[in-house]
C-alpha cells in the first residue's frame, strides 16, 4: 500500500463518509454473531475466521444454527450459499463499475462487497468517472466497513460468555432480520416470497438438520419469481432489503 497520495486519501475518506451511517448496524450485527458463536460452542478462532473469510452475516448465522442442530456439513454450506446467492446480483451490477480496474483490484474488492458496500458503490460510481479515483472511493468505504464487522464479531465472541442466559440473546436473530427485511418490503413478488417462505419453514419444521430453512428460502424465491412486479428495475439493483442507518449486514 505504498505510494498513496493525498488525492487517494481524500477519495477514500469520501467513501468512508458515504458508508459511515451504516456502520453501527454492522457492529451490532457482528456482536450478535459473535455472541451466538459462543452459545453454539464454536471456538473463538473459527468464529473470527468466519467473519473475515465469509463476510456475510446472515449466512454465517445460518451456519451456526445448522451446526447447533447437528446438520451435515454439506447442508450447512449449501444453506449459506443459497442465502449468499444475492451477491451474484451485485456482482453483475458492479461489473461495469469495476471494468476499468486492474485485475488484482477487481479480485480484492469483490471480497469486500457486502450488501451495504455494493449499494454505496453503485450509487456513487457515476461521480467518479476516473477509475483510479473510483477505486479509492470504493475501497475507502468497503474496507473499513468489513473491518468494523470483524471487530464487532470479535467483541461479541469475547463478550459472549459474559452475557447471562436470562437475556435470551437469541432474540437478536429474528429481530435483526426483521429490521433488515421488513422496512424494504414493498412489492408483490417480495411479499409473496416472504409469505411462502414462512409457511414452508413452519410446515416443514420436522425436516432434519434445518432443511426447513433451505426449503423455505427456495420455495419463496421460486413462487415469488412468478408474481409480476409493477415497477421497472432501476440502475441500482433492489435486493428487497433496507440499507438505512442502523441496518444490519
Amino acid at each position: 500500500m505504498l505510494g498513496i497520495g493525498p488525492r487517494q486519501w481524500s477519495d477514500a475518506w469520501a467513501g468512508l463518509k458515504a458508508i459511515g451511517p451504516l456502520m453501527p448496524g454492522s457492529v451490532l450485527f457482528g456482536l450478535a454473531f459473535g455472541a451466538l458463536v459462543r452459545v453454539a460452542g464454536i471456538d473463538p478462532f473459527t468464529g473470527s475466521f468466519a467473519s473475515i473469510s465469509v463476510v456475510a452475516g446472515a449466512s454465517q448465522i445460518a451456519i451456526v444454527e445448522a451446526i447447533r442442530t447437528d446438520a451435515p456439513a454439506v447442508i450447512a454450506v449449501i444453506t449459506a450459499l443459497v442465502i449468499n446467492a444475492r451477491f451474484a446480483l451485485y456482482s453483475a451490477a458492479l461489473a461495469p463499475v469495476f471494468a476499468a480496474f486492474p485485475r488484482r483490484w477487481k479480485l480484492g474488492l469483490a471480497h469486500l462487497m457486502t450488501d451495504q458496500a455494493a449499494v454505496v458503490s453503485l450509487q456513487h460510481a457515476d461521480r467518479y468517472p476516473d477509475p483510479v479515483r473510483r477505486r479509492w472511493f470504493i475501497v475507502g468505504g468497503a474496507l473499513p466497513f468489513v473491518a468494523v464487522w470483524v471487530a464487532g464479531s470479535v467483541a461479541g465472541i469475547a463478550l459472549g460468555p459474559v452475557i447471562p442466559d436470562a437475556w435470551q440473546i437469541g432474540f437478536i436473530v429474528p429481530l435483526m432480520f426483521l429490521a433488515v427485511m421488513v422496512p424494504g418490503l414493498r412489492d408483490a413478488p417480495g411479499v409473496t416470497a416472504v409469505a411462502v417462505s414462512v409457511l414452508v419453514v413452519v410446515l416443514a419444521k420436522d425436516l432434519p438438520w434445518g432443511l426447513n430453512v433451505l426449503a423455505g428460502a427456495l420455495a419463496g424465491i421460486a413462487v415469488g419469481s412468478f408474481v409480476p412486479a409493477r415497477k421497472p428495475r432501476g440502475e441500482v439493483p433492489d435486493d428487497g432489503l433496507a440499507h438505512d442507518a442502523g441496518g444490519g449486514e
Binding site: 445448522a66 451474484a88 456482482s91 461489473a95 462487497m113 413478488p189 419444521k205 430453512v213 428460502a217 419469481s225
Partner: protein
Amino acid sequence: MKTFLIFLFAAIGTYLIRISGIVIFGKDRQLPPRVARALQLVGPAAMAAIIANSLLLDEGSWRAFGAWHLAALVAVGVALWKRSSGWTMASGAVAFAALLLAGL
C-alpha cells in the same frame, strides 16, 4: 475442525459468487431478466426463512407464545410505520427487554 471446514467452504463459495459477475460479465453483458428477478427475492425469502425458524420454532418445535412473538409484532409494526432498520431494532429490543422484565 469440521466447523472450520464448513466456514472455509462457505467462504470459498461466497467469494466465487462475489466475483461471478465481475469476472464473467463485461461492460455490456447483463444477467437474464428472469435470473435477476429470482436473485432479487433471495434476500427477503432467505431472511423470512431464518426469522420463521428462529422466532416461531425453537429447535424444531413450536415456540410457546410469549415475549418473542409480542416483541416481534412491535418490531414489525414499527418497521412498516417508520420504514427504518434503526427504529425497528430499537423498538424490538426495548419491547423485548420490557416484556422479559415484566416476567413474560
